[in-house]
């Protein structure tokens, strides 16, 4: 029984971690309607920035982490400046294809800058688990879960309640209409990428704390896809709930399981649980 509860709690917490990664997808999708295939690479890149700041340069955590976030934000901005600002008004198809190019590009960049070796990621959260009675909870997952919930609700509030967030929503809905309403598509997309890169770095910190890091860790990007799908790509707070309902995904029984779930979702309810019902079928 205790084992089962342990498993359930850990599953849910790992699910929340996936939710955090999935949020990176959702934020970029929500603000620019671009499906970012390079999400996993963003996570790994964020992870490497943190590793570089903290482990390689030897900065203390309270300096290294904020600096890493700033670096990630700059990286996100650069990606937007170099690639996506030129594509404003082009078809979404082209933008999504560019993210596929980015996937290769960032992977290469990681290999050039940091090499293919396996690095040990700094221990951000203490390794000893939190023990409540007989239940063991890894500390990084617990703290990460709390952060994820806070970030999730914060972003949800931002996109649904604030003026800036609604503007970005309008951009995702239709670039041309948004432009003619006086909303800057470029700025919206830039913000989306900054936010996406920062969120990915946050995900990397929680995911990798105390583990080993190399460029293959990017698999988590695609593994987090089903969570985003289950929630529906537009729903940010929904991602949190989806991750809870989906402890099997988090439990990571097999690498293929998330994708089978994904197929089922796509067939049964392509908009997910909370997505906008805009998927047409011809």
């Amino acid at each position: 029984m205790i084992d089962f509860i342990n498993y359930l709690i850990n599953g849910a917490l790992v699910g929340l971690l996936y939710a955090l990664i999935a949020m990176g997808f959702v934020v970029i999708y929500r603000a620019s309607k671009v499906f970012n295939f390079a999400q996993g690479e963003l996570v790994v890149f964020g992870g490497f920035i943190v590793w570089w700041m903290v482990a390689s340069m030897g900065l203390p955590l309270w300096v290294g982490l904020p600096l890493a976030f700033v670096a990630a934000a700059i990286f996100g901005l650069l990606v937007e400046r170099i690639f996506f600002s030129r594509l404003a008004g082009e078809s979404v198809f082209a933008m999504v294809m560019v993210t596929i190019g980015l996937l290769i590009l960032i992977r290469g960049l990681i290999l050039v800058l940091f090499g293919p070796q396996v690095r040990s990621f700094p221990i951000i959260f203490p390794l000893q688990p939190v023990i409540i009675g007989d239940i063991l909870i890894p500390r990084s997952l617990l703290v990460g879960g709390v952060i994820t919930v806070i970030v999730g609700f914060g972003l949800s509030w931002f996109f649904n309640r604030t003026r800036a967030g609604l503007r970005m929503t309008a951009v995702a809905e239709d670039h041309q209409v948004a432009l003619s309403m006086g909303i800057s598509v470029k700025r919206s997309i830039a913000f989306a990428w900054v936010l996406g890169a920062v969120l990915s770095t946050l995900g990397a910190i929680i995911f990798l704390s105390g583990k080993s890091l190399n460029f293959l860790a990017s698999d988590i990007g695609l593994a987090a896809l089903p969570v985003a799908l289950l929630a529906g790509f537009e729903a940010i707070a929904g991602v949190l709930l989806a991750a809870y309902l989906d402890p099997i995904v988090g439990g990571a029984i097999g690498t293929v399981f998330p994708f089978i779930i994904m197929l089922l979702i796509l067939f049964i309810r392509p908009t997910g649980m909370f997505g906008w019902k805009t998927i047409e079928r011809v």
Binding site: F35, I82, F83, R86, L87, E90, F93, A94, V96, M97, V98, I100, G101, L102, L103, I104, L105, I106, R107, G108, L109, I110, L111, V112, G115, P116, L222, L225, L229, G254, T255, V256, F259, I260, M262, L263, L266, F267, P270, I279, E280, R281, V282
Partner: protein, 350 residues
């Protein structure tokens, strides 16, 4: 566009793939060059050429699927893998000759692709692309977890060389000619498909599926057919690959390979069979020259290290994909057409 003064005077002329005497000559020269090629080049270049021919088949399938029908397919490598494994298993278990096992492998891949194409019944656009990622992981999972006696599991499959009338395709040159023959047939078939009723239906669905639905095209069937054909081509390519390498393993067909195929289509130009061929040639040539020049670059700058050169290739090619989408989204083929057009019209501006 035909050169000035060339007009089709009969339906056959209008339908012709090769339209002028110049094009006939160019085609003949190309074929002669391809036939003579292995006698001129060294063994390594022959191996690269064989590789290119096999990839050409796979990428043409992707071109039909993605360039013509507009369905993003991130699982082409998986479809190729299904073809390779099916061909290998048929050849090993049932001792089928290669001229039977390769087409059957193609059919197996087509069936696999068709199943994923059928998801077009429920979903469209990028959600459809996501199912093809699922195809990729599903393929890996199935191969590794099905009984080892079926597909060799993680050990892979080892094939005997292809044989016909007692002649076995062992040498690099013979396998080159086998691939050349199959590829030529597949290219010819692809030209036929894209100008047929189905090909035009693909283009219509790609441009606007609502409108084409209203015109009486069965949109779902068209999309599923596109996947069927694309996966069939991938399967044939996979079969050739199986007989070329004579060893089939699951890590030869990863998501990254699929992405390379997409890169080839984009660089060559969406919506053109010739473009697919050009894309394969350009990307593969760049890749191989990195591999060849890599050691000498490392020798020049010892500080770089061998990994860096390989990594730089990724950076370069990722950059190329992005650059093409930003600056020339219609690929090299479009550029070539523009050049041809201005040359034909010269000295007039239009």
């Amino acid at each position: 566009m035909d050169p000035a003064g060339v007009f089709a005077t009969s339906f056959e002329r209008d339908q012709a793939l090769v339209r002028t005497r110049g094009q006939w000559i160019a085609l003949a020269l190309l074929l002669i060059a391809l036939v003579v090629l292995p006698h001129v080049l060294g063994p390594r270049l022959v191996a690269i050429s064989t590789n290119m021919l096999i990839m050409a088949v796979v990428v043409i399938g992707l071109q039909i699927n993605m360039g013509y029908a507009g369905q993003i397919n991130l699982g082409q490598a998986a479809f190729m893998g299904v073809g390779a494994y099916a061909t290998g298993a048929l050849a090993i278990k049932f001792n089928l000759p290669f001229w039977l096992s390769i087409p059957l492998g193609g059919c197996a891949a087509a069936l696999f692709g068709f199943i994923f194409g059928l998801s077009a019944v429920r979903i469209k656009g990028f959600y459809l692309a996501l199912t093809t990622i699922a195809a990729q992981t599903l393929f890996h999972f199935l191969i590794l977890n099905l009984p080892q006696s079926w597909f060799g599991g993680s050990n892979g499959l080892t094939l005997e060389p292809a044989q016909i009338f007692g002649f076995s395709f062992v040498s690099d040159m013979s396998i080159y000619y086998l691939c050349l023959a199959v590829t030529a047939a597949m290219v010819f078939g692809a030209y036929g498909i894209v100008r047929s009723r189905h090909g035009r239906a693909f283009v219509a669905v790609c441009d606007d599926d609502v409108a084409s639905g209203l015109m009486g095209i069965n949109v779902v069937r068209t999309k599923a057919t596109a996947f069927l054909i694309g996966a069939f081509y991938a399967g044939i390519g996979g079969g050739l690959w199986a007989y070329y390498v004579r060893f089939v393993a699951v890590d030869q067909f990863t998501l990254f390979h699929s992405i390379w195929f997409i890169a080839m289509v984009i660089v060559g130009g969406l919506g053109s069979i010739t473009g697919a061929l050009i894309g394969v040639f350009v990307i593969k040539a760049i890749q191989e020259s990195f591999v060849t020049l890599g050691p000498s670059i490392v020798a020049q700058f010892p500080g770089l290290g061998g990994d860096v050169v390989f990594a730089l290739m990724n950076v370069f090619l990722g950059g190329i994909i992005a650059a093409f989408l930003i600056f020339e989204p219609r690929g090299l083929m479009h550029r070539w057409n523009i050049m041809k057009r201005s040359y034909r019209l010269w000295p007039f501006p239009y």
